[in-house]
Amino acid sequence: MNDWIAIGALAVVGLAIPLGMMAVSALLRPSVPEQGKRTVYESGEVPTGTARIRFNIQYYMVALLFLVFDIETVLLFPWVTIYRPALEQGVPLLDVLWPMLTFVGILAVGLVWAWRNGAVQWTSSPRATARKTERETES
């Protein structure tokens, strides 16, 4: 039996269930169009501008770091899979171990570099820091 047919079948079912629920809902629900209720929610105030705004740079920093480590996990998967079978076939321990240790070691150096440069430290805007200092000096 082909495994991928079964996985494909579950993909079909997985898409059919949400689509089916949307179809049932489309038959059941009322539609009373009105401009007021389409306004986006902003705590009951009149919304200002769009949501296409500038946001904290930190979200980019962690995404960049993630790319490096995610590729690392992909490259480590073959290693962990053959590790035990290789040992059982009598390959010396250090011969199987050193490629992974070197690889993880190099990435650990990378993490230390990113850490020291503040890539994994949440940045707050200068204005927020200034406000915080003001509050502290007032009290």
Partner: protein, 357 residues
């Protein structure tokens, strides 16, 4: 480690219907997938409108739903009809294709993950849809499609809370995905295979016998440190307390699902609960011995269900008992703590296995 090819669920269905060839495979696979999908849907149906309320009520000394049906169980169909019959309100300036696709992607990705989970035997049936050699890597690949859905929802809603929720969801999933997978790798180091049935089979030998009770070599007992790491990273991946930052109700309203209503909202809710159960299923498979338990092998499915519901209960317990991390704490715990610990765990496990083999 090679295993005797067990008859999987689609093959069982095809044989039971007497359908040969490729057509039989496809029909059998579709029927089996439909059954598995609906079992999971039933679990989320019970969990969402009923069990979640009952559990939270028990933790906070209240009664919760008890008006309709025995123990208030009929709230489940009532809630389904009520939610599906709500008007769909699409916010101004929503990015249409993305806004509509996001609620389809989330439940679909969670359901797809169940394809390779070995759910044990139910009578003569081996409830597992597929058992490819890369199953254990595949299940993480499927589960992480969810982040895309959350970004799509957050971006497309044209709402600042949604955008923040979507961004937080990505930052969190990225930060905890690596510890999750690296910890999962330490399981592969023990088992020596990526095949999900092989990982479960490797956990069936006895570890120690204490006073007549045999403790099986579930990886939760063999390597409790990895189990705790995996549990924590798993809670973050599925966005449950103390990691429910993407939808923190007291900070950003409801995060990425703020602007969703009607069937779209139901689908998000459904997708999240499916992800809780998928997280429980992965944990069960990798650390809790899969579908094994006392009693004959033919009731394995019951043990599987008990284990994933135990994980669900655990998430709800955390919800009632734990405060929420702040986003800056989340990033630091993830990148400075979990990542380092998970690599330490992998190296130590590899050395220990290497010395003992």
């Amino acid at each position: 480690m090679s295993l005797a090819p067990a008859q999987l669920f689609p093959e069982f269905v095809a044989n039971a219907l007497g359908l040969p060839g490729i057509a039989g495979e496809i029909v059998g696979a579709l029927i089996a997938a439909f059954l598995v999908g609906n079992v999971m849907l039933t679990f989320t149906g019970v969990a969402g409108p009923w069990a979640k309320r009952k559990i939270t009520a028990a933790f906070t000394d209240r009664i919760a739903v008890n008006r309709i049906g025995p123990f208030g169980l009929l709230i489940i169909p009532a809630a389904a009809v009520q939610l599906l019959a709500k008007e769909l309100i699409i916010p101004e300036g929503a990015d249409r294709p993305s806004y509509d696709l996001a609620p389809i992607v989330l439940p679909a990705s969670a359901l797809l993950g169940f394809a390779v989970i070995p759910m044990g035997n139910l009578g003569p049936i081996n409830v597992q849809l597929a058992d490819p050699e890369v199953g254990f890597a595949l299940v993480f690949a499927f589960a992480s499609i969810a982040s895309i859905s959350l970004v799509m929802a957050g971006y497309a809603s044209n709402n600042k809370y949604s955008l923040l929720g979507g961004l937080r969801a990505v930052a969190q999933n990225l930060a905890y995905e690596i510890p999750l997978i690296v910890t999962a790798m330490s399981v592969v180091v023990f088992a020596g295979t990526l095949q999900t049935s092989g990982i479960v089979a490797a956990q069936q030998e006895a570890l120690v016998t204490l006073g007549g009770i045999t403790i099986p070599s579930w990886y939760a007992f063999v390597n409790p440190f990895a189990f705790l790491l995996f549990l924590t990273a798993n809670m973050a991946e599925i966005g449950r307390n103390p990691f429910d930052i993407p939808e923190a109700p007291t900070e950003i309203v409801a995060g990425y699902q703020t602007e969703y209503s009607s069937a779209y909202f139901v689908l998000f809710y459904l997708g999240e609960f499916l992800h809780i159960f998928l997280g429980g299923a992965i944990l069960t498979m990798a650390f809790l011995g899969g579908a094994s338990g006392p009693g004959p092998e033919s009731i394995g499915f019951v043990w599987f269900v008990v284990k994933i519901w135990a994980f669900f209960l655990f998430t709800q317990w955390c919800r009632a008992a734990m405060p929420r991390f702040r986003i800056d704490q989340l990033i630091e715990v993830g990148w400075k703590g979990m990542l380092v610990l998970s690599f330490a765990n992998l190296v130590l496990t590899a050395v220990l296995v290497g010395v003992t083999v």
